[in-house]
Symmetry: C2
Subunit: 407 residues, 2 copies
């Protein structure tokens, strides 16, 4: 495979890259869309209009006239299409951490008498921290499972099995349907963290019969830094679910201003305070890029990108790096992680060459292939740069000996 071959794949594949719908710097190979999605065209204009027209001119009246009251619901509809859910089962707002807190606490209300949450210890740290906080608050047990076999930790005490669909570090992909089934067989709920899958592959919460889910707005959904998160509640739990942060925006009638709290129907009851209209607007505009995307084709493109990256790394670097991510396409998300003692230096040297991945402690170089805008040519260029970095020992430069907080 040479660069011309990569270009030919881009031209022939079922899914054409939409890089021209993003404002990516010329020549940049951006493989960190799993950490912060690129800027879709149109977001800047929408925000400008929201600020100057809706806020500046329409002022308070824009809650009705510009549809701000319904904005989270509209965004929920767009997200719902990507995760196999109707708008009434999705809430958009808060952060992933806050929504996960709400759903984990709610899980114990939906499964009274059960006192255990099961998570796996390689989950994204915030999931574990939040679960530990819930365990302390509710005096319940946080049980760590074997990442290779979460179902083995299920029993009649488990209220909820909370797993990340795609592991943030390794890129390994869980079988949602099988693990959801296993949880249900034990009488437990399942709560899926979709941060590293939504927007990069088809997800169908309805088809797998999931109970609860959370996900991120700023990775593959491209909603901007710190974009609102989303939460999912299966219709069968709508009526019974009680989340603990009972703010007015989750009330059935916020402006009735009654003394008693009455939860809104559906997933809208996950809301608490007033949502950021600017952040919701950015996410709404960003999601337009998905309007006519076939998610199966998007996934095929993603598998082709990650497969080509692994093949080229194998062919050109052999055992100079370790491939952490599963080689079987159905077992991985849309990223490939490489292990190397000098992973930090490798990532920094690649960034200096215009190939942006990221480092995850202690020894992982992570490359995300956001299939909306990453091309096979990007993959080829990234591996070429990686070969040159290692050949030239660029990763051993002394300035990379000290690690920054964020990479």
């Amino acid at each position: 495979m040479d660069r011309a071959g990569a270009l030919a794949l881009d031209a022939a594949g079922p899914f054409r890259s939409r890089r021209d719908r993003f404002l990516l710097p010329d020549g940049l190979v951006y493989l960190d869309g799993n950490s912060l999605g690129a800027l879709p065209r149109g977001v800047d204009e929408r925000l400008h209009a929201a600020i100057t027209q809706e806020w500046g001119h329409g002022l308070i009246g824009s809650w009705n006239d510009a549809g701000w009251m319904d904005l989270p619901r509209r965004v929920a509809g767009r997200v719902g299409r990507l995760v196999g859910a109707d708008a009434g089962s999705v809430h958009v707002g808060d952060s992933t951490s806050v929504l996960l807190f709400k759903l984990l606490v709610a899980s114990f209300g939906l499964r009274p008498g059960r006192r255990v949450m099961v998570l796996e210890p390689t989950t994204f740290p915030t999931d574990g921290y939040v679960a530990a906080g819930v365990a302390e608050l509710l005096d319940v047990e946080l049980r760590w499972c074997d990442p290779a076999d979460p179902a083995a930790s299920l029993d009649e005490d488990v209220a909820v099995l909370a797993l990340t669909h795609v592991d943030f570090r390794s890129g390994a992909l869980y079988d949602m349907a099988a693990l959801t089934r296993a949880a249900h067989e034990a009488g437990a709920l399942v709560c899926w963290d979709l941060c590293h899958s939504t927007g990069a592959m088809p997800v169908d919460l309805t088809a797998v019969d999931a109970d609860l889910a959370v996900g991120c707005g700023y990775k593959y959904l491209n909603g901007g830094p710190g974009a609102p998160a989303f939460g999912y509640v299966a219709p069968r739990h709508h009526a019974a679910l009680r989340q603990p942060i009972t703010g007015w925006m989750g009330h059935a009638q916020p402006f009735a201003m009654t003394l008693d709290y009455e939860p809104a129907p559906g997933a809208a009851r996950l809301a608490s305070g007033t949502p950021s209209v600017l952040a919701q607007t950015a996410l709404d505009a960003a999601l337009e890029v998905f309007d006519d995307v076939d998610l199966a084709e998007l996934r095929a493109h993603s598998e082709s990108l990650t497969g080509l990256f692994i093949d080229l790394v194998d062919a050109r670097l052999g055992d100079r790096v370790g491939v952490v991510t599963p080689r079987e396409p159905r077992l991985r998300g849309s990223q490939v992680s490489l292990r190397h003692d000098d992973a930090y230096g490798i990532v920094q040297a690649l960034i200096a060459r215009g190939v942006v991945g990221d480092f995850r402690t202690p020894d992982v170089a992570r490359f995300g292939f956001a299939p909306l805008y990453v091309t096979h040519a990007d993959v080829f260029d990234a591996v070429q740069a990686l070969v040159e970095v290692l050949d030239g020992e660029e990763h051993l430069r002394p300035e990379y000996a000290v690690r920054n907080a964020v990479t």
Copy 2:
């Protein structure tokens, strides 16, 4: 007092209106800044740069290079100046509801053995809803006090007295120092909701020895619809305070990605998930308007505006409307509320004339005088319009018989 007199007050007063620093529509009398603050000049440009340069061009590197990691702390410093607190005691993020939840739960950890929260029943509804949720979650008591004498409900079971500094409906202002003292004498904490005071008057949490506080970014701080909220933790509670939503951004070292949660120092531990950079940037830019504002002068201007409004209503409308707000300046915030059976129609008819106040169920017409940009001429014009509405019976138009959700 005629219009020329009002203009003379504007010209002579110690605080000149900064209306020219806001992008308010020409001719609009905007008296709803206590619900949604006006758009400060410069916000649109800052957001454009944040979107296109920081996000679009800088991408993931902007967490370091554009200072996104420190952004909430910088905004906290700006807010801190308005409430008498250092940056390390203020956290900016989430919504008021979520932060109030965190602080109320934390209160019980700071006062172990005590099982009661005291709120007053005319508080903004979300405060009551959130407190009721906390009561259910922790199996503690929510005790409603007499709004005229909150201290009478304090005893040795009370962990926290949670009051709104300025009542959203009546505009009545509590004596923070006296009530904080009363709470402390009972061994309780105090948690002040500053939504309707911060940015309209001096607040000094340090001087009154407050324990905890929350406040709103989108009213008098002009941070835009649904702007991030802020929370305050007195330095003496920094080390002991534990809030329940232990997400990674409240961790001492988010990117160490250790399994165990270790809270960040100071109020930064109130953080949970990744903050919206766009929303934080808008609030940061908006707060620049306060850079050289003397808060005592701002308060004097506010008292002059509300006083003139009450005087003109008394003189020109007599008992055709009821003034709900205390007439004694030191007992009110920066709004004046009028009671009338047709308050909804009055507000709508005024809006049709370009005078924007708002309606609060069941019978209150509320007029906020954001002292940064409201003038004495606005006050005169508002009362003139009110007289004409009532004289012309414009408030009785049939289309105002049905009330909208948001007004």
